[in-house]
């Protein structure tokens, strides 16, 4: 194993002192000249027939108002599944934006909302995604409620089709099967609930727009608004000092251009729009799912076919990547070496809040279904839960997808899996969970006492490795004569510590002290760009990769400058610890300070348009995931107490273990919330959001946390650090969430012999399911 100066050390975030002393200024903490409020739709589906802001504008202190009549007749790309205008007279959920007001105080802006006169034409609404695909139902869009296939150019024209990824012939596969299991499941949406609500401050100056936004995707905002406002990319500046949690919710949304237009109408005074908690909880969600899974297998457990179909409730608008990004970079459909497969995702609009991806995206919901059905197959075959998974799980070198395939999503090459020790991970999780001692057979509880039944469950999936969209980003480094380094990064540090991780990678690569590396991000005016930015567990991985390439370019330039002085060819030189030296005789060196009188730049971006590069030809990086749960179910009350969680992941090589642990453990808690507590709830009779606050939408607190034992298995194929994923690191951040829901469901089955069909598994849901015998 290689010796490292920084890699593998747990190093706290560079911004630690600012965060613990309260000096870190989040956008929510900032002041502006004016404050904005948004009038929100009281109806789930309506058309504005008339809107009059005259009285609101006369209220002293009101500076600007904005209605659909005032917005550009240009769409806001990627703010939603189907691009929309900044404001529209067509309203699609309770809470939709009707009009905006900017005033000298929040109170005045709020008061002005009451003075806006609106005449609504109330339209019939639809709330169920599966129903919404039918012909004679209310339509949110003239062309229909289905949006898809995702990322297909035809989608913008309203092609009413699911996104499909398939290979082989499932009909043939099911014929060959000795056992077939099919089942249906319902998964409620989950609400991101970042503690810092969505917030934006806009300042529209002559020919330039500056935005302070709590966002994961600054570059995407620049790109999108450059289109909407017909401004050069270079004239829109987005500043994001810190993000108080995003979890997938903080991408480009229409409230950003809305705030910008209010600033424009206020002649360039800065305008701040901060969501209230109620606005925060009612405008976005992880898509709900209505799932059907059919799986067939031979006697030896080999899965011959899977048919997976899910209706994703993407709500009123969805987001740029929407529900079926389940298939995005293939996760989790490649977990098993299915011989024949058809995965079918219907992204469907409903009159509820819009879906955007959330930590682990759609994997928890999809695996809630798949990982219960595979157990049904195993039980029927007389195999154990772990045996059937071992027979079918992908391993190092296996092709992903296993067979030549067709895909109506983004195309990506088939390639072999890099360092993918799925079985070893399974065994380590089993050991940590004491699986062999505790698992006594199908529906045989670990222990029983009174009305309490203890059960143990396991689940497996595959996560992506974060190596993606290098063709949509640019990074640069500046290497100073004293050897220190400034990195210009487009990738937002979402609060995960990714800037610290980048610093560690650079310091390792150049033999520097951490304090000598400065990562400048959080402001698009640094010229760097990252269109996909802080999502899909990718910042440390793909930004790290490009950063090392940029450093390599600077090194090459410096070696060329140093070559005559050392009397060697540039190729025979290397740079480390602020010195250029001859590789064969490292004693022969000269310090950087005697070569440079000015900094040398290096830069890198992937090939234009490159979305899913291989880490080397024919090889891709994925993260095997296994989790176990032990629960105690009270069969009289339906209450489920989680005793222990064992989330397992394979992050390649950990750059900063302290951060990896925090991400995985925190993720597991979010999975726990989704499994047992967090109840997305809209009252369709009264048109009222029930889950609009933290009392009616319960997040886990410190008191709900069970014992959590992480299994982190490192597995690396050694390569040059600047080739492929840096030092063998792999995207990990979000994967702690992925399997908690199915592991708990399987543990409940072990305890009770009843399959859970609905998530969250609130006590009333569990009791109802137990009472009805799983129907």
């Amino acid at each position: 194993m290689a010796e490292f100066k920084w890699i593998g050390k747990s190093i706290p975030q560079k911004e630690s002192k600012e965060k613990v002393t309260g000096s870190a200024k989040f956008v929510a903490d900032m002041r502006a000249d004016l404050y904005a409020k948004v009038l929100r739709s009281p109806y789930p589906h309506a058309m504005i027939k008339n809107i009059d802001v005259t009285k609101a504008e006369k209220l002293p202190g009101v500076i600007a108002t904005l209605t659909y009549k005032d917005v550009p007749k240009r769409l806001v790309p990627r703010s939603s599944a189907r691009p929309c205008f900044v404001l529209d007279k067509h309203l699609r959920y309770v809470g939709d934006d009707v009009a905006g007001v900017a005033a000298i105080s929040e109170e005045i802006a709020e008061a002005a909302l009451d003075l806006i006169e609106v005449e609504y034409e109330v339209l019939p609404a639809i709330f169920n995604a599966k129903e919404a695909t039918k012909e004679h139902v209310p339509k949110l869009y003239p062309e229909g409620n289905v949006w898809g296939p995702v990322d297909n150019k035809l989608a913008d024209k309203g092609l009413q089709e699911p996104t499909i990824l398939s290979w082989g012939d499932i009909e043939k596969g099911f014929k060959e099967a000795d056992v077939i299991i099919e089942d249906e499941f319902l998964v409620n949406p989950q609400i991101h609930s970042p503690l810092e609500p969505h917030v934006c401050i806009a300042k529209w100056e002559r020919g330039q727009l500056t935005l302070w936004v709590s966002t994961q995707t600054k570059s995407e905002i620049v790109d999108s608004l450059s289109y909407t406002f017909e401004m050069p990319l270079s004239k829109i500046r987005v500043i994001t000092p810190y993000v108080g949690g995003g979890f997938g919710s903080k991408y480009i949304e229409r409230y950003v251009p809305l705030t910008a237009l209010l600033s424009k109408k206020a002649e360039g005074r800065s305008v701040k729009l901060l969501f209230t908690r109620e606005e925060e909880q009612c405008h976005t969600k992880r898509a709900g799912q209505d799932l059907y899974v059919k799986m067939g297998a031979k006697k030896d457990g080999t899965i011959t076919a899977i048919y997976f179909r899910s209706y994703f409730d993407i709500g009123a608008y969805g987001s740029g990547v929407s529900g079926s990004c389940l298939f995005w970079e293939e996760a989790p459909v490649l977990a098993y070496q299915y011989e024949n497969a058809r995965f079918e995702a219907w992204d469907v609009h409903t009159n509820t809040s819009s879906a955007s991806p959330m930590r682990s995206v759609q994997v928890p919901g999809a695996t809630f279904a798949i990982e219960q059905v595979i157990e049904g197959v195993a039980e029927k075959l007389g195999m154990s839960p772990t045996e059937i998974r071992e027979v079918n799980m992908s391993e190092t070198g296996d092709m992903a997808p296993p067979k030549p395939y067709t895909n109506s999503n983004i195309e990506y090459p088939r390639a072999g899996l890099d360092a993918y020790p799925s079985k070893k991970l399974l065994h380590e999780v089993m050991e940590e969970a004491q699986w062999k001692e505790k698992w006594k057979g199908w529906a045989k509880p670990v222990a029983s006492s009174g009305s309490k039944r203890r059960g143990i469950g396991i689940a497996y999936a595959q996560g992506w490795g974060g190596f993606n969209f290098d063709g949509y980003m640019a990074m640069a480094v500046s290497m100073y004569p004293d050897g220190s380094l400034t990195v210009l990064s487009g990738s937002q540090d979402l609060g995960t510590g990714s800037n610290t991780t980048l610093s560690m990678l650079a310091a390792e690569f150049l033999g520097l002290d951490l304090s000598e590396v400065n990562v400048v991000s959080g402001d698009t005016s640094n010229g760097a760009f990252d269109y996909y930015e802080a999502r899909s567990s990718r910042t440390a991985i793909i930004s790290g990769h490009l950063m090392l390439q940029a450093i390599q370019e600077a090194k090459n330039k410096i070696c060329t400058l140093a070559a005559p002085k050392l009397g060697a060819e540039p190729e025979g030189l290397d740079l480390k610890e602020k010195k250029v030296f001859i590789k064969e005789t490292p004693g022969e060196s000269i310090p950087l300070s005697s070569i440079l009188t000015a900094p040398v730049f290096g830069s890198a971006s992937g090939p234009q348009g490159s979305a899913f590069p291989e880490i080397e030809p024919g090889v891709k990086t994925k993260n095997p995931l296994v989790a176990a749960a032990e629960v105690e179910v009270d069969i009289e009350t339906g209450e489920v107490e989680v005793i222990k969680l064992v989330p397992g992941t394979c992050p390649g090589r950990m750059i900063n273990p302290g951060m990896v642990i925090g991400q995985c453990r925190g993720g597991a808690v979010v999975g726990l919330g989704m499994a047992l507590y967090e109840n997305f709830n809209f009252d369709v009779k009264e048109n009222v959001w029930i889950s609009r606050n933290f009392l009616d939408y319960k997040l886990p607190t410190a008191k709900e946390i069970p014992e959590i034992k992480l299994v982190i298995l490192e597995a690396v194929t050694e390569r040059l650090p600047q080739v492929g994923a840096p030092y063998g690191a792999r995207g990990t951040g979000e994967w702690g969430v992925a399997l908690i829901v199915p592991a708990i469901a399987n543990a409940i089955y072990n305890a009770t012999g009843i399959r859970m069909k609905r998530c969250p598994m609130l006590s009333e849901v569990v009791l109802d399911t137990l009472t009805k015998g799983g129907k």
């Binding site: 613990v20 002393t21 002041r31 609930s193 503690l195 609060g495 453990r665 979010v670």
Partner: protein, 164 residues
């Protein structure tokens, strides 16, 4: 809008006196942010559900979003900004412990947790306490990055530091 009375107040925040004119309906959280320039207490829900705005009033953890500023006259208000010594940049042991134990990620809820931890550790000084007691103390504070285990570990480590 109804007319709001305003009042001149003397507030004692982190040992310093502030003369501020506030509306009788203004919360301490908003006064800290908008009139005193202290933004360490965070705006999370403004309805007492998340704990991000927690400050200490006469040593007790209080939700500044539910506390009227006019009720704070004559009381000792402590915010996260008062914990570390700015001149020497010496951190409070709780702050050190949160850093060393990775007790935060995005950091938005952190000031609230640290203030609750301070009240808890001041109260339990000189005696042993259980992890359940820590969890009970911080049960009113939400963290969505959600690694509560590192937070309880930070508080335990802080207690060790403060004992020394």
């Amino acid at each position: 809008m109804e007319a709001i009375m305003s009042k001149n107040l003397k507030l004692n925040v982190n040992g310093k006196g502030y003369d501020v004119e506030v509306g009788t309906n203004e919360t301490l959280l908003r006064v800290l942010h908008e009139k005193i320039g202290l933004t360490g207490a965070k705006i999370g829900c403004e309805s007492g559900e998340c704990g991000a705005c927690t400050v200490l009033i006469d040593g007790e953890p209080r939700l500044s979003c539910l506390t009227l500023a006019v009720d704070c006259e004559g009381k000792k208000i402590e915010t996260i900004e008062g914990l570390a010594d700015f001149e020497s940049s010496k951190l409070h042991p709780i702050q050190e412990a949160f850093i060393e134990n990775f007790g935060f990620q995005c950091g938005y809820c952190t000031p609230g947790f640290i203030m609750v931890a301070k009240a808890f550790l001041d109260k339990t000084r000189g005696r042993e306490f259980t992890d359940e007691e820590i969890c009970e103390a911080i049960a009113g504070n939400l963290c969505r990055c959600a690694d509560y285990i590192s937070i309880t570990q930070s508080i335990r480590a802080a207690a060790e530091k403060m004992r020394k």
